[in-house]
Symmetry: D2
Subunit: 456 residues, 4 copies
């Protein structure tokens, strides 16, 4: 039995991240507004708090309010001092290696984003510049594998799912792993963890060398969705929109498991992009799947999509229920098309430059009450623009559920109010109500208090 | 859905096993009594039949009676042609890499044992010679890691266990893996697979390089206990006694999960050896463990041991119920003692030469009705000798349950008859009856027909 | 016999450098003043022109005026098209791998310096900022090995040396290699190549894994001193001063072989820094050495140093003649002191932050006739400042000898004029005259025309 | 300056050779006739005596008569204690890694040959059995690389050659290395070392991973021809005939540099085999080469071959003088034919099974005075048989020059007497006389006393 809950420890970095300049160390230690200390501490705490069942950033921060992290220069490189760190990150007093890695990837990304990146994009449009920034962050994190044929499957889905659904995500991951696919997720619990566990077993059977379990996160969500240590490439993007862009430019196909508001946000993001005329010919396998018994769930989602952004959207995805083997086979077939297309168009395997992402999907959305109220959830605009608006609505709901500033705003001002065309609002209401009913909104919350209000 | 059940395929070896002489190829193709073809085919079939729920060698051999394997010399090395092979070994028509490896390790071991080994031991006693043979086979299989501190945990237990028990073996494996221990089992399903799966996940989290999942098997048992493909070092010893010796000389500590006759055989083997006066000071961590609820099972086993080979035997093991973390911590402590002892006595880390194994435990036991009837199951002999006799009795029962010659003998002559002192026989009867009742004797057998009869 | 002198070829990058953005490709293709094309072409030509005996940038550029390089995006990554490239870079039509690597390191450094670097140093003094820039370039080039004990020996010396001296540099390299030291040079021919060749043989005998042969260059010198392909880490610093700083912050000890003006520049740079009071306690092994018979040469150098910057400077170096084994042993002893000091002061092994480099040594010096004429070569200033001035004088002479703008300026305006105190000027005159006499100024020049004039 | 000539040291093995059984250790320690101690000591001494200019086994054994080697079992594996070992094997008291490797390869081969090998060949003819034994020894030494296309070039030539010739062998090695060929030699000095040094530099430039420098030796010759430490795969075959067979079955092409009796022996061996009708279609590139100025030497050899075994033999080799690049290009073309032939005939890349070696070339030849006198050096027998006889004559002369038993026999009984047909004897006499004149028989012997007498 572990009885201690807090541990103090010194952690030395992996070799490859062991060369910080004094200037960089100073920035990480800088507790002023300009400095990185606060952000660094918060992300490290999330990384250390792995396996936790808490998805409330605030609760996490409160429980570990005594946690501190200090960075020191030694002759052999930098060293992190952890004070009152969550005991779950340790085994017999030694930090779990995967978590040790995560700590230093966080450090790597925060320094890079804060520092070196600003100038990479002189002479580009704002949209190109964002795409380029995402590329640079991923490349700096060594997340590109230029000569590898398309094999990276993104798995989206809820962090709060039931045992049956969780086991299903493992089975799908196992079938993907048997085909030597790599896995990329948002790196928290639930549908973000199951596929990696399944794939790990299959990769072991296939003797896959250097299997990849990529986790893409961002500072606002990381505390609520601690990366699980199977993730062996953790990249912290600066905001939710760049994280979404990283998913679709890095990944070669997407599987969506049942989930809540966050998953719906991701679906709308993806479909919105694929609906844009410029992407008409770009192959992008997209499969919605869940265990036997999840038919009703997918009907709700399918109905919502058709009712809002239109039936044409439904051509870009396939729904498969209770068939892990079938999902993997479909994905394999889809990736073969991706491969053929990339070859034909001389597009790189490692970054999907040719996917057009409208600027509406790239702009960081700050979900204040005012911004939420002003969302244009009406018909009469291009389908992909409506998708972008709905995406923002759902993003705001996620923030109101689990992100700290969002939760604070809700406490202060009450639920966000959303308005729009009646049909759209009704569809949205039904979708969200089903999430609440199925307890997909938050983990371990007996009585979920909606952070939104549909105003007709 | 897979619909095909048989697959034809060509398989090329791993680089390291790709250099056979024409003479060796000829021996593998030789269908005469002297040749290796029959044995090779049978073992390969077992390897390919992974994941099967059959533990009857005969049923396996019958179902795949059309299976054939041919070996060919090509300019790039040898090639195996598989005809009518079990489809379960393939993914989308491609053989699972782990299984491909296993095929060639079988080939490696059969050729080595048949061929090169006889002369290794000139000038040694018979007992020394057996120990030396086991050493040579393991070394030839690259199963020695000379500079690695003791960290190899052998897991024994039933191949036919319940879901709850299976999940528990995974949890224990996970805790072992978190401590970077390697795992060695008899490499079939059940308690031989669970710990490896758990350890695989933990090793991924700990970024363990080259984790080891060693499976030790022998031709008589392999068809009934197909190695699972997580096993990344498969060694086929020539008989059950050498396999048992390989476990205790290679492993540094042993965990025993609930099981049936085979597991009881292993317990008696280990305790018999540890009871020998020459091994009094040799540390060897030995933990019996199962999930909460298995208390009754372990009481039966404990009572049987004390009633037959004596209370002193109980000093060499510890029973832990429902505490995976505690099991792992005990094992860690035990291995630290092993390490200290090896250092102190200049014993190698990789092979436990100093463990004294009496010749009674090394002689191959052929369980005919006559041999079984003549076993001396009486008091008045040294405890370790009685343990050796009981070990043989249980070995015979395993053969009568799942090994082909044993099953045939039972069909022809009826159950084995075992006689001995009343107390001993009663204890044995109770133990076996409990195994039958708990369905630990065979997989998927609704009504188990005992292959033995206790005669007082 | 090779008859062709020009070759066209397509070259794909090493995996690790195979991810350029379209924006980066555009910059490399940009032939405008702002673009990198011209610089990239020139550096690539130098890399391809390996083994050439030309040290005149202009001659090289003229001979290969038809040379062109184009960069293309392919689905597997970027590809370089080489047109009319020097045949010496190819074997049977295939580019030598080491040269292929060099091409892409040039690309890596030019892009990094041009692009990402500007913002790394906000909030630092100018001097700190330069030091930080050098650090970032080296780190980006993966030239840091944080956990490796000090073992990097910098070898300086002439590119134009005689056979006897060249063989001696090989012998010293061999002795260094036997002690597993890594080698860093300016990466041209002569004393920059010999130590690497010798070390390569010794490293093979010592089975050294990943031996390092680091070449530090800069665009102005690279065409005159083509990197030899043994160099397995080529870093192109933006100017001569940053290159010098890279040598002394990355290297742990320095060996100086006989050479000409460039070598003298390097000696003055190093001694000037070591003379600064802040560096009094920083250990830095510095050995001047040459084959038996080079006594006279070193007396001249020694006399020059003592006569100009003072006898105290001589305490920081040791002269060893005709004893490769002794040089290596002294270096080993020196590196042990470096190790002890870094441990004691918590300084990293991989970058010598604590060495104080006065700003005078960091400022890029543009050797125009005016700047050269204004150098303050007089007594009455701190020794390290005088060293800095003399360093610039010699830097200008190197430029006048082999760098394109320097040579052009001399052609147009006649030799640089240097003025100063009589004693200093006389010493300088003697030093330079001895270089001329010994044909150390340029390769293959029967009659060297001095590019400088000492004006008293 | 090294002043000590003898060093005591403990040496631990490479990981892969660190698992000896107590039984094996006992054999290595056994100083009886049956034991391996004497042979092991002698081979280890040769390995340690690297770089020595002595080629007299006796002188070596005498100078290091105090040398002793002891083998101990430790908990981390075996350990060798070296007493009064040659200081040349050490750098600053540490053994050179390549030499450390060699010590343990000797141990590996002596144990394997003595022990495990006898039974590998049951049921084969004597000739097949020898071929199989060579195969097993090489495979056990991991000298097979099954999937590598033919690229192993054997270099034969004298151990006692002049500087000019030595430099030429380096240049040829450099050109071979540029084409990524691996090198195999008899592993002593001279023409056995030069190609490896040249190839090492070229392999560094080509970034060749795991370049191979294979040395094949045998206990009788090793003391006279200490392996140079660049050799990274040393295999000790049990006798000279198996060593020769290893060369031609493992190698894919052969280059012969100028040499003495040993080289001539090798030439006759190779040509004798290639002349056999069964080998008519087997491609085997064979190039004789030396620096400009060696024309006369090759004319002598060429004339000798034509005059003895016939002009047809000359079709199987090519003579190239003073053209390292041309030699490498011819070898590349030859290896392409070998590749095509192996593919066509389904022969493995790693062992030339299909080359027919008549038994006459395989039988160990013990060069006593009687055996030498009985050699049938007459016409009227098949060319390959005559070649076999001449090969033995030359083998005896090598033994009389440098092998201990041979030298002793000559001292006792005077020179070997050789008789045969006049023309043959005259040709032989001329060949040998030219070797004597050119000082190719022994190193550093001002006045060579012939160990043979041609009797007409």
């Amino acid at each position: 039995m572990i009885t201690e809950h807090f541990i103090n420890a010194s952690v030395t970095p992996l070799e490859s991240m062991d060369t910080l300049s004094p200037h960089e160390v100073a920035k990480l230690q800088d507790i002023s507004q300009r400095g990185l200390y606060r952000l660094f501490r918060q992300c490290c705490l999330a990384v250390l708090n792995t396996g936790s069942e808490l998805d409330s950033t605030r609760t996490v921060l409160h429980r570990f309010r005594e946690f501190d992290i200090r960075i020191k220069h030694k002759h052999r490189g930098v060293q992190l001092e952890l004070i009152n760190a969550p005991a779950s990150a340790f085994v017999d007093g030694e930090i779990i290696q995967g978590i040790r890695e995560h700590l230093f990837t966080v450090l790597r990304d925060l320094l890079y984003v804060g520092d070196e990146l600003d100038q990479c994009c002189v002479g580009l449009t704002e949209s190109e510049s964002i795409t380029n920034t995402v590329f640079h962050i991923l490349r700096h994190a060594s997340a590109m594998r230029p000569h590898v044929k398309p094999n990276l499957v993104v798995c989206w889905g809820g962090h709060s799912i039931q045992r049956l659904e969780y086991d299903y995500t493992k089975e799908v991951g196992y079938e993907l792993g048997l085909r030597s696919f790599d896995i990329c997720t948002g790196c928290g619990p639930g549908a973000m963890k199951g596929p990696m566990k399944g794939a790990t077993i299959a990769h072991a059977k296939q003797r896959k060398e250097s299997p990849r379990y990529i986790g893409l996160t961002e500072p606002g969500i990381i505390a609520a969705e601690s990366p699980n240590p199977i993730v062996n490439e953790l990249v912290t993007l600066p905001d939710i929109e760049k994280r979404l862009e990283a998913f679709v430019r890095l990944g070669h196909g997407i599987i969506v498991f049942p989930g809540g508001a966050g998953t719906a946000e991701e679906i709308l993001y993806m479909l919105g992009i694929l609906l844009h005329p410029k992407n008409r010919n770009v192959p992008f396998p997209l499969v919605f799947t869940g265990p036997a018994g999840s038919e009703a769930y997918f009907e709700t989602v399918d109905r919502f999509i058709k009712a809002t952004i239109g039936a044409r959207a439904a051509e870009r995805y396939e729904i498969v229920v209770g068939d892990p083997h079938g999902v993997a086979v479909r994905m394999r077939e889809g990736l073969e098309k991706v491969l053929a297309y990339r070859k034909k168009t001389d597009e790189s395997y490692h970054y999907n430059w040719q996917l057009y992402i409208p600027h509406e999907f790239q702009q960081p959305f700050e979900p204040t009450h005012e911004e939420m109220a002003q969302l244009n959830l009406r018909e009469g605009q291009p389908d992909y623009i409506l998708a972008a608006q709905l995406r923002k609505a759902l993003s705001g709901i996620v923030a109101g559920n689990v992100k700290e500033p969002g939760v604070l705003a809700i406490e202060k001002h009450g639920p966000f109010e959303l308005t729009g065309d009646k049909d759209i609002m009704q569809s949205l209401d039904q979708l969200l109500a089903s999430f609440v009913e199925q307890k997909r909104m938050k983990i371990n919350h007996e009585e979920y208090q909606p952070c939104y209000k549909i105003v007709n």
